[in-house]
Symmetry: C2
Subunit: 302 residues, 2 copies
């Protein structure tokens, strides 16, 4: 598989409540991922709380992850920032540290216009020389890319892929067809929103950017591979994951995946003001996951 | 007038494209405000691009503004940040530098729950000891305060006021009545959204948090005073400002007010990725303002 194709796994970035990254815990996660059959690591994504980490801590995280991945799996690093100059600096850091690409979201406080987002991306790609994955995540950036804007950006040198959101299981095939008709050949079109992605893969999307895979890669590797080969079996496997997808939909992927970190022996909490799930909900998440693990294990897919 | 009562003027924070505050230009703005009859300065509000400035630069801005205001008018400083520990540190800086209060918005990347916002505010107020103004600005934070949440926060020591948004000219009176019934006596209820605020003041709101006043205080001082004394005359004056309100509504207050800075001899652009208005729109803003100034000047209200 080439970069920007297949399964990209987005781990959390374990850190203490002062925003200091726990590189030991991070390396534990990266080590799991590097040997699992995933195609890339999406470090410092939204679930990796990149917007809550300083430039120095993001650099520490990238350095540790790349040292642990040790050439086995490429690392795509989140480089989003409110300011254009900060995003350029973060892209420079990621490049210098050996990241294969930068994941860039149009992070906003003052809402941005389409033209402002275009200029922001052009500046970061042009000045950093780092390959850029367009990160469309309206739930956090409050900006929605049109297919026309992605197509304009895809014609700039260095902008190589798009990570698109999904809202329903059924919206990605039409979106993919629209986007494919507008972007240059070789531009990678991928999707996030774990619970909706099987249909994107079946429809021929290049990549699945997955939160669950950041902690439990094996089941996701199987699902991604099956989606290429046997859509009926892929849908069956995806349906078996419904209890986890429902929890992620209800409580957000980030909060659910932090709760599940305990199953890997990792004690981590999201950065305040984001709070861990209430004890009762956390227990429900763990119970659901344990029951599901057993089922999946018996059927040989985890 | 006491703090949190009357007109609070929100200036821009002139800075270069590396995020370095131009303290000379800022002092020019503060000097105009300090002698104008406004009741407080809202430094580092959204129009003051606080989220785009580093901790050090925010401190430089507060220090300069307070030196220039020199006890003539209190300074409320924006202390919002994505992380709770950062907001606490910023509140500590503002207090140490002599700010009268901190303006705290529930800035988000990952969307926040009501409980997360409550805990965030409680931590900042409790640990900093700085009086806190709740800053409800759903257009930038993507969190909307319920009156119940404001009432809960208003019962915490140190949370003293709320700056509420307006959507239409007519929504604030009902909101004010609802909130007054729930918050303790003495808790200040104010509004922003310049084009809608005259009705809030006529209905008895404690404060108007104004973007226009940050650059052109005199007309706003007159409008705020008139609203207390003569609602018919206040509505007439407010209607005369319609051309400016329309531009702010259409292009955002921030972008319009940056264009108008030229009339004070201040050359400043918002931080990228936010772009200045296109030349054609900028000229329209300046022409509209010039025509209006002449009219208002002739009628003796500017």
């Amino acid at each position: 598989m080439t970069l920007f194709t297949g399964l990209s796994a987005f781990p959390i970035t374990p850190a203490n409540q002062s925003g200091r990254v726990d590189t030991d815990a991070l390396r534990t996660l990266i080590s799991r991922l590097a040997g699992s059959g995933i195609d890339s690591i999406g470090l410092l994504g939204s679930t990796g709380t990149y917007m809550y980490l300083s430039r120095d801590e993001r650099a520490r995280a990238i350095e540790s992850a790349i040292a642990e991945a040790a050439g086995r799996v490429p690392v795509i690093a989140g480089i989003g920032a409110l300011r254009t100059d900060d995003a350029i600096a973060l892209a420079g850091d990621a490049k210098a540290l050996g990241a294969a690409a930068g994941l860039l979201a149009p992070v906003s406080y003052t809402l941005l216009s389409e033209n402002e987002v275009f200029e922001h991306f052009a500046a970061v790609a042009g000045e950093s020389g780092l390959p850029i994955v367009i990160y469309d995540n309206p739930g956090t950036t409050h900006f929605r890319f049109t297919s026309e804007l992605i197509a304009r950006l895809a014609r700039l040198p260095g902008i190589v892929a798009a990570k698109n959101p999904t809202v329903t299981p059924d919206d990605s095939p039409a979106h993919l067809a629209t986007l494919r008709a507008q972007v240059p050949p070789g531009f990678s079109v991928g999707y996030s929103g774990d619970w909706n992605c099987v249909e994107a893969l079946i429809a021929g999307a290049d990549a699945w950017y997955s939160v669950l895979a950041g902690m439990f890669p094996t089941v996701c590797v199987n699902l991604a591979r099956t989606a290429r080969e046997d859509s009926v079996e892929a849908r069956r496997l995806n349906a078996a994951l419904t209890p986890v997808w429902d929890l992620m939909r209800q409580h957000t992927g980030l909060r659910v995946i932090y709760a599940l970190a305990e199953r890997l022996g990792i004690r981590a909490e999201p950065p305040r003001p984001i709070l861990p799930l209430a004890e009762r909900v956390k227990q429900q998440v763990l119970d659901t996951f344990d029951a599901l693990s057993e089922t999946l294990d018996q059927s040989g897919v985890i």
